[in-house]
């Protein structure tokens, strides 16, 4: 020790070192946050730039004469839609000639490449639904084929069409001219949101709507089973169960369950719900049950954590005025734990909503989810897919138009997840304000 008195105006060596360490840690923290944000930005820009194109679709809009004789002939024929298609292409060919477009595609048959194969169906449905329109002239908006759509979005080029038999490069010249004349334009693709999956060759007709309903019914099942079972189990374990070896074992195993890969739950669901209990395959009910198994540990763990975080003095206070254990839990502990329980539940649901692997094993993927359920019961029991499974299915398909739709599906899915997180935050706020 030196006898010298230290001055407060001068930092001593220790303080300097400490301050330097603190600064270093802060820079490290800022660096970590920056890296995280960077990843997030890259992720979001990729998703948005790849996915937004799925939300628009190129249409051909023109006036169609609904000639009574032609329509009667089409209805009388064997393959009705092909006759309807002929009506469309013949009238477009006439239009092309009338407007004087320069093109090699003169036959009506060449022009059908421009349209989606569903165009004829659209026309027929309209005519059947509005019989009074027969004999008049109406403006129709037909979906173009995915190649034309891709061209308008820059995905398809003349070079890429050179080896593609689905669309002649010459058609693009015509499309360019039609676009200039206002016959072809791009607008919002409602079918993508409300529609059902379509076969490999018709990506322009595919939508995520039906699998959205599948996801919805699965989430209902999860909510109805996982929330009450999970919360009841946690309350019992946390507040009532004696602390002994058995409850210790149960506790450890619940934590272990939370770490079990979700595909294991899938194969369990296959064995138990489908092979043993003979529930229908590919049904949202089974999917929901599997996801319930998967979500339960998450809900139990978060519920127990939020029950634990309620100070014991509150329990003592309630017991002290002569409340029973049950009254203590339901009047005092549960309301205080509610925000945590809700957050845990919604996080569990969000996890379940985004889960794909277990659905592969119970057959909720790999087929065309093409029909809307007819009612609530069929919503639970008829084969359906789920949003992430649908995205997976699209991503597997060869056509780049499907790849685009997979990204679009991801945007929809993320939209749902964000909404759920918002709800979690709002509920938290609401319950916290009520202290």
């Amino acid at each position: 020790m030196t006898g010298k008195k230290s001055s407060l105006l001068e930092l001593d060596a220790r303080t300097k070192k400490r301050n330097a360490a603190e600064k270093r840690f802060q820079y490290f923290g800022i660096g970590a946050v920056t890296v995280g944000l960077l990843f997030l930005i890259v992720l979001l820009t990729t998703i948005v730039s790849n996915g937004t194109r799925a939300f628009t679709q190129t249409f051909v809009t023109f006036e169609l004469v609904l000639d009574t004789a032609e329509i009667e002939a089409a209805e009388a024929s064997f393959v009705k839609t092909s006759k309807y298609r002929d009506i469309i292409t013949a009238q477009l060919a006439a239009k092309v000639e009338e407007l004087g477009f320069e093109t090699e595609l003169t036959s009506a048959d060449d022009l059908k490449q421009i349209f989606s194969s569903g165009a004829a169906g659209t026309l027929r449905e309209y005519v059947l639904a509005n019989p009074e329109s027969i004999g008049t002239t109406e403006v129709f908006k037909f979906r173009t084929s995915s190649r034309v759509d891709g061209y308008s979005k820059g995905r398809v080029t003349r070079e890429s069409l050179a080896r593609d038999k689905n669309l002649a490069p010459a058609a693009l010249d015509l499309v360019d001219q039609m676009q200039e004349a206002g016959l072809v334009d791009r607008s919002f693709n409602w079918t993508f949101i409300t529609g059902s999956d379509a076969s490999e060759s018709r990506p322009e007709q595919a939508g995520i709507g039906v699998s959205m309903i599948g996801s919805f019914f699965m989430m209902l099942v999860v909510l109805v089973f996982a929330l009450p079972i999970g919360v009841a189990a946690s309350i019992y374990l946390e507040e009532f169960a004696p602390k002994n070896r058995l409850t210790d074992i149960i506790e450890v195993n619940i934590s272990n369950l939370a770490a079990v890969p979700s595909i294991v739950f899938g194969i369990l669901g296959l064995a138990v719900f489908i092979q043993f209990a003979h529930l229908p395959q590919s049904a949202p009910l089974v999917g929901g049950l599997v996801l319930t198994l998967m979500t339960l540990p998450t809900i139990i763990i978060s519920t127990r954590a939020s029950l634990k975080s309620v100070p014991p003095s509150i329990r003592e206070a309630a017991l002290g005025v002569g409340a029973s254990k049950m009254q203590t839990v339901f009047h005092h502990v549960l309301p205080l734990a509610m925000p945590g329980i809700l957050t845990g539940t919604i996080i569990g649901l969000a996890q379940a909503l985004g889960e794909t692997a277990p659905l592969l094993l119970i057959g909720m993927v790999g087929f065309i989810a093409s029909n809307y359920p007819e009612g609530v019961a069929s919503g639970f029991l008829d084969p359906n897919s789920a949003m992430p499974a649908q995205i997976f299915e699209w991503a597997k398909r060869a056509d780049p138009a499907y790849y685009e739709r997979a990204w679009g599906g991801i945007i929809v899915l993320l939209g749902f997840l964000m909404t759920m997180n918002m709800i979690a935050i709002l509920m938290r706020r609401r319950f916290e304000r009520r202290w």
Partner: protein
């Protein structure tokens, strides 16, 4: 020693025994917190538990309303009777017991609800109020007895947790008396209070003595001398000395008691 003039004029009348403990032992796991305590607490009397920190005052107090049941590792043996009924009997429901034996805890622990609901909760679950007006009356009466009415009467629907520490403690006292218990256990009820509130609470204790049996844990010798008729001195888990407050403070028989109250151990 404490020639507080209270002591001189204290009249010691013999009351009925309300609580009697016989060979009570409490273990927390392996540690032996209460050792063979025998005590007979009288009705309509304030009994003070004094002793150094960690000697087991709270533990013993919590045996009387079976609050220790909620601690898993805690094991109570021996026998405690209230009105000559064994409260550890298999047939006794601790919930019913706790309605009869109220408690004010060492740390103020109001419910995170409004001041009104803090008081009303006990009467509500025990069905003590038939109407809203009844309940309002109980709430007002209890808050007055807790010496806090004037401070909170304009904000009965504000959160109880928003009060100061001392106000919270008085709120807890009011909450405990709202259910009209026969026995009131108070674990250092005044440790967070200023002298004015303390004297209000002491007046309340004196008032309550007319109808109830009160047990109060305190670290303040002056308080024990002021409010209690009987005093029990605990040391390292044993009950060293129990007797009339006047006698304990002026003429203790055990030398540990004497050194504690004169400030030599503690």
């Amino acid at each position: 020693m404490y020639d507080d003039n209270h002591l001189a004029e204290r009249t010691v009348t013999q009351n009925d025994i309300k609580i009697s403990a016989n060979k009570v032992n409490v273990h927390y796991g392996e540690s032996h917190a209460i050792k063979d305590v025998d005590v007979a607490i009288e009705d309509k009397t304030v009994t003070a538990f004094i002793g150094p920190s960690g000697c087991g005052k709270s533990t013993f107090l919590r045996c009387i309303n079976r609050m220790n049941d909620t601690i898993d590792i805690c094991r109570v043996t021996g026998d405690i009777r209230i009105d000559n009924e064994d409260i550890y009997d298999r047939k006794v429901d601790p919930v019913q017991l706790r309605a009869k034996v109220g408690m004010v805890f060492q740390k103020p622990n109001p419910f995170p609800k409004s001041i009104y609901d803090n008081i009303a909760y006990g009467p509500r679950i025990h069905g003590l109020a038939r109407s809203k007006a009844d309940m309002d009356e109980i709430v007002e009466k209890s808050l007055r007895r807790g010496a806090i009415w004037d401070e909170v009467k304009d904000r009965l629907h504000a959160p109880g947790t928003g009060l100061s520490g001392g106000q919270q403690q008085r709120l807890c006292i009011a909450r405990a008396v709202a259910t009209e218990p026969e026995v009131l256990l108070m674990d250092e009820p005044c440790s967070a209070l200023d002298p004015i509130a303390t004297s209000q609470v002491e007046e309340l204790i004196d008032e309550l003595r007319k109808n109830y049996s009160l047990v109060i844990v305190t670290h303040s010798m002056q308080q024990a001398a002021r409010v209690s008729q009987k005093t029990a001195f605990f040391h390292l888990g044993t009950l060293v000395e129990y007797g009339d407050t006047g006698q304990i403070f002026t003429n203790p028989t055990d030398e540990r008691t004497e050194s504690y109250i004169t400030g030599r151990i503690g």
